[in-house]
């Protein structure tokens, strides 16, 4: 490695990135993804539009309706309409669930007879449907047990302790995972373009004809993107801490080290794609395909790795996002740091990824016309 040569290439790449509008992508894309996903994805269902048809209009039924009205999960409209009309409303997607309280609700309850409450849930969006169903059941059971003062004999009290995310905030659960996704996609896309752009344009001849070695060329392409995206590590951290108010319990240094390593992994993936493709458009499509989808599936945002079985479990271990996200959740929510052997191991694994990917890139890079 000759430092002077690297410096020249880096200066060239940086001025090109600055003068073309590519620099906007470097900083706009990660932040945009972060804000969109951070504000856009909600696992819990809030403000579900629920219509209660209260055919009883009694004290007890009012009490039940009140319980729903006070819940943050529901936006309630109480109406008197017939069932068909209510179903029609669901069909038009104007309400998400309907609860039908029968006319004899209070009377039967007071007599100790069992009474039926009808619930219709729109399950067109299945996970939302299931969640709503359990919320509705929870509210009704809760209300019912409060109304019936019967003391059961032996009972089990559940004493739950939620770790890491006591308030069960969606932000805390999603935002750290998002950093892992964003830092996988954004650096890879920029890096994927760098070499293939020179191939398309013809300036790759400068490399072919120069005494520059393959490793030097790769380093020259890698370092500018690395430097630019290193700033994103801090920008994303600021969004997470101050905009989404995610706690930060671990060591900043581990966050920094792991993130820099991870960016290197992401850039190496991009460079590898850049080495094997011939046109920019194919490079972009390929990068999106190998980063966004696995990045999302194996980030742990949607589904924890421990829940995966079979093929997907192995696949999750192949993609680097799993290792980085483990460290991310640790520094944000857990704070064990290097005392955990797993964190140590995963840092090493990330470093191994960098070495393997870059070696492959150097190996496959051709210093001749094909």
């Amino acid at each position: 490695m000759r430092i002077g040569i690297l410096k020249a290439y880096i200066r060239k790449e940086l001025s090109e990135l600055l003068r073309s509008r590519l620099i906007i992508m470097v900083y706009l894309l990660p932040t945009m993804l972060m804000l969109l996903f951070g504000y856009g994805i909600r696992m819990e269902v809030t403000h579900a539009r629920i219509a209660i048809i209260d055919n009883d209009q009694s004290r007890l039924s009012n009490l039940l309706v009140g319980k729903f009205e006070h819940s943050k999960y529901f936006d309630v409209t109480t109406t008197v309409m017939d069932e068909d009309e209510a179903l029609r409303k669901i069909k038009q997607a104007q309400s998400d669930a309907i609860i039908i309280i029968p006319a004899s609700f209070e009377k039967r309850l007071l007599k100790g007879q069992t009474t039926q409450i009808g619930v219709y849930v729109d399950a067109a969006f299945p996970s939302r449907g299931s969640t709503m169903e359990s919320y509705v059941q929870g509210v009704i059971l809760n209300a019912a047990s409060a109304l019936i003062p019967s003391a059961p004999k032996g009972s089990i009290v559940i004493n739950q302790r939620t770790l890491f995310n006591q308030a069960m905030r969606d932000e805390d659960a999603i935002v750290p995972g998002l950093i892992g996704l964003v830092l996988l996609v954004a650096p890879a896309i920029i890096a994927a373009l760098l070499i293939v752009k020179e191939k398309e344009r013809g300036t790759i001849f400068n490399f072919y004809a120069s005494p520059l070695s393959k490793a030097e060329f790769i380093a020259a392409k890698l370092i500018p993107v690395f430097l630019l995206h290193s700033i994103n590590i801090f920008i994303l951290l600021l969004w997470a801490l101050y905009l989404f108010e995610v706690p930060f319990r671990g060591s900043f240094w581990i966050y920094w080290l792991a993130s820099e390593l991870y960016i290197l992994v992401s850039i190496s993936i991009g460079i590898l794609i850049s080495v094997i493709t011939r046109t920019q458009i194919v490079a972009v499509v390929l990068t999106v395909m190998v980063t966004i989808i696995p990045g999302f599936m194996y980030s742990g945002i949607i589904m924890p790795i421990s829940s995966m079985v079979g093929m997907s479990r192995y696949e999750a271990h192949v993609f680097p996002v799993m290792y980085y996200n483990h460290i991310l959740y640790d520094v944000f929510l857990v704070g064990e740091g290097l005392t955990s052997q797993k964190t140590q191991l995963y840092l090493v694994i990330l470093a191994v990824y960098v070495v393997i990917l870059l070696s492959l890139g150097t190996l496959w890079l051709r210093k001749e016309i094909r």
């Binding site: 590519l22 945009m32 969109l36 996903f37 856009g40 994805i41 909600r42 696992m43 819990e44 403000h47 579900a48 669901i90 069909k91 038009q92 997607a93 039967r108 069992t114 009474t115 409450i117 009808g118 619930v119 219709y120 849930v121 729109d122 399950a123 067109a124 969006f125 299945p126 299931s130 969640t131 059941q137 009704i140 059971l141 047990s145 004999k153 032996g154 009972s155 089990i156 009290v157 559940i158 004493n159 302790r161 770790l163 890491f164 995310n165 069960m168 905030r169 805390d172 659960a173 972009v284 499509v285 989808i293 599936m297 742990g300 589904m303 924890p304 829940s307 997907s312 955990s340 797993k342």
Partner: protein, 360 residues
């Protein structure tokens, strides 16, 4: 005029078919990609990993544990001490840990209230939440509390809450968005890059005809993809229920692809080369897809995003398609979706005509 229109459409279709890489990518997207999403992505809590420490001799604790079974739970793993258990949670090997104290069963037999300690990794918030819900049900069930309310739940439209069909459909809709935008944008920008733009401008033809014909050719490509994907993957493999009218869906798709190609036209008018098309498309498409309600219901979003979602044609398309497939909504009730898609498309073409048309 007719002949010019169809010659342009024919020319673009020939160009598309000849670039076999593009054909492959499009086919891949409409088939494999939809299949992967449908079979791979799972949003419902499934296979939640549970661990426990049992200080009792068994009995009640085992009774509770037998209720934790698939598909929601993996078989519970036993740990010897509470330390080991929490270690496993910290290492993300399990998400939920149950701790049965030594006097857990004794207290229950003595008709006192027995305490079950549950440790949960709430970084997987939705899994944790569902698990808690489940456990509450199980415990209520075991302790035989009589509540005189019988809840009869009907899950409408997708009785088994089958996630696969839903994800496959959502992915198909996202792919339609992506391709209708990118393909149209590339068709226009490629002329700029190849230098044939000038030739196009010199033809004694009304620019609007050229614009419409070029985008129409890509609409044909995407519509063909939709039909293939519907036939082989969405209906063929995943068996997505069709409660409404399939022709309504195809018509709605047509108008949506029209709107999408309008957005592509807009991008082409602004971009100078394929590189910029790629950048702009990513910047435009990401919000489009995530503001559509495909991932999160719109009413649960930040209010600012809720207003923004009105300009996303995908919002109307997704709601409309869900209504057609699952809710079985009738033609007459679908008008808001048609209106939404058509008006967004109309505005886009109006801008496109003005931006590109002026160059003619």
């Amino acid at each position: 005029m007719n002949r010019i229109f169809w010659s342009i459409v024919g020319k673009e279709l020939i160009g598309f078919i000849r670039s076999w890489q593009l054909v492959l990518v499009v086919l891949y997207m409409f088939s494999v990609e939809v299949y992967i999403a449908g079979s791979g992505i799972e949003i419902n809590p499934r296979n939640v990993a549970v661990g426990y420490v049992d200080g009792t001799a068994g009995g009640l604790s085992q009774k509770i544990l037998t209720h934790l079974h698939g598909p929601e739970f993996l078989a519970p793993r036993r740990f010897n001490s509470q330390r080991e258990l929490s270690r496993a949670i910290f290492d993300k090997e399990i998400i939920v840990g149950l701790v049965f104290d030594a006097d857990f069963e004794k207290k229950w037999r003595q008709n006192k209230s027995a305490q079950l300690d549950i440790l949960m990794d709430a970084t997987a918030a939705s899994q944790a939440y569902t698990t808690l819900n489940y456990l509450q049900h199980i415990v209520l069930d075991i302790s035989k509390v009589n509540i005189p309310v019988d809840i009869v739940t009907h899950k409408l439209f997708n009785q088994n809450a089958d996630n696969h069909t839903f994800m496959a459909l959502t992915e198909l809709l996202s792919i339609i968005t992506m391709l209708s935008i990118i393909l149209t944008a590339v068709v226009f920008v490629r002329e700029k890059e190849q230098g044939t733009w000038d030739l196009m401008l010199l033809m004694p033809v009304n620019p609007k005809v050229i614009i419409l014909a070029k985008s129409f050719s890509q609409i044909i490509v995407v519509m063909t993809g939709i039909v293939i994907s519907l036939g082989f993957v969405v209906l063929g493999i995943f068996n997505v229920p069709v409660n409404g009218s399939l022709s309504a869906f195809l018509l709605l798709s047509f108008f949506f692809v029209f709107a999408g190609s309008g957005i592509g036209l807009f991008i082409a008018a602004v971009a100078r080369d394929v590189m910029q098309v790629a950048q702009l498309s990513i910047v435009v498409m990401m919000p489009l897809i995530f503001l559509s309600g495909a991932w999160t219901p719109i009413y649960a979003m930040h209010p600012a995003l809720q207003y923004l979602s009105y300009i996303s044609p995908l919002r109307y398309y997704i709601e409309g398609s869900e209504s057609i497939f699952y809710r079985g909504t009738e033609w007459i009730d679908l008008w808001p979706y048609f209106m939404g898609v058509i008006s967004v498309g109309g505005v886009m073409y109006w801008i496109g005509f003005r931006k590109i048309g002026r160059l003619f």
